[in-house]
Amino acid sequence: MDDYAIGVLTNIGLVSFLALSAYLLLIAGEMSFGQQAFFGVGAYAGGILTAMYGWPLPLAALAAMALGALAQLLVGLPTLRLRGLYFAMATLAAAEMMRILFELVHFQRAIDGEAVGPDGTQGFRGIRWVFAHGVEPIEYLAIVYALLVLALAGFLLLERSRLGATLRGVGEDPELAAALGVDVNRCKLGVAAAAGALAALGGVLFAHHNTYIEPRNFDIMLGVHSLAYALIGGLGTALGPLLGVVLDIGALEGSRVFQGYRMIVFGGLVALLLVWRPRGLLDERTVRWVKQRFS
């Protein structure tokens, strides 16, 4: 596989973490426009730790995930009782605030005579840990997908467990879930932390794949895209968001033939697809149908 194909596959893997993060919140009944901010927190935190403080990537990734979870909790706590569009707009506001904060951050250290670190809108160059350690693109791809498979395993376990059913119950009807003894707030905060960590993990991997990040990478477009991936692919299973990402980035890359018209064709297709399947391709009904056929 040439570098380009590896690059596309890696991108699909990276965005999938963000799509899974939005999906996790969606099945718990929370529509978030802000997962891109926690993706950004992971990217900046991971980049700073490796490029400026020489941390090893795995350790930096864990720290970034913790920060991402903490950041999402900070947003989730005050907005616990918001629902629907109110919650979505609160997350949008929080995410845009974080993006602007990334633009205001100028924090650099001199390493080998060069200033390394986030420099506001100039971005953060030189996150070269992967190159400094001679990791081949194919190996980085393997790491990204190993972690993605781990996350997916977690989701599929969740789907089968009672916790998974509880989450969907909270998503369907929080009042009813509360009436049945579910601590809805604790559920929501747990989901928020997990979603924040997931998005941050994607962010760390993106920062080290791209070696450069800037605040505009984490704008509202990425946020609504991550929501769209979950919905297009289907809300029935964790494979749905991944399908959504493959359709988007796979189709965008694949449709070279449409060159300048990609978004025109793709945008129209997505709208039509949602008319046919409002809850995505792999929605709950399809998943149940498949389970009945094969179990």
Partner: protein, 289 residues
Amino acid sequence: MIDLAQNTLDGLFLGSSYAMLALGFTLIFGVLRRVNLAYGPAIMLGCYAATWVHLNSGAGLLALAAVAVLCTTLAGAYVERLCFAPHRQGSAIAAMVASFALWMQLEELATLALPRHIYPFPPLHGGTPLEFGALTLRVESLVMLGAAVAACAALWWILYRARFGIAVRAVIDQPGAAQLAGISVPRTFMLTFAMASAIGGLAGFLVAASHEQVTPMLGMMFTLKGLLAMMLGGLGSLPGAVAGGLALGLLEAHSQWFLGPQARDLIAYALLFILLAARVPWMTTRSAS
């Protein structure tokens, strides 16, 4: 002191454009209970159509305004038919994500028609701004204020005096009952969507004229500012939309003067977040779950 007055004037001008955008969003949300993310890009497409006409013909300002309003309304009708009509009984998220897909589509359509990143747009009044003592006021600002007032008055008249207003308010209040009262709900959706698009097209035209340029980014700006103003004023309330728009305009004008553009947006979003988190009364009137 002069700065305060000047900023307030600029804030009112900015706020009236946001108020019109928020009115458009609120009309659509009020009737459909859905958020139309493609509202901004449809307006941007209207402005691009006017730019295209301006580049290829010596059409006057009024004609350009008409083109902007008409093309926005056409783009709005297209969005309504593809994203909102099929999902009337269905899920709100599907309709919203579909409108996001069309946002990307409309944006690429505009950049295909006019590929350059920025295009000049004719101002309403070429000359120097008007002087009131130390205060300066551009013609565009006056026209924008006038347009906002006219839009509010027209909307108020339609909703509370005209027969069609009964239909719109009935559909907003209880769509099931509206059907039984003999009101055609689909037709009311389309006409309300057209009204909202017309107001948006006019606002877009005036913003383009006052910036004297158009870029594809206008779409995102219109959508974000419209949403922000609508939410600040209380989701689904028309007077709230006007109040939210003006408040946002004043807040931005003042914070930009004292703290710079980044701080301006930061403060606007921070205000929205705090108000939402505090669950202020006027924001939780209509549940938008």
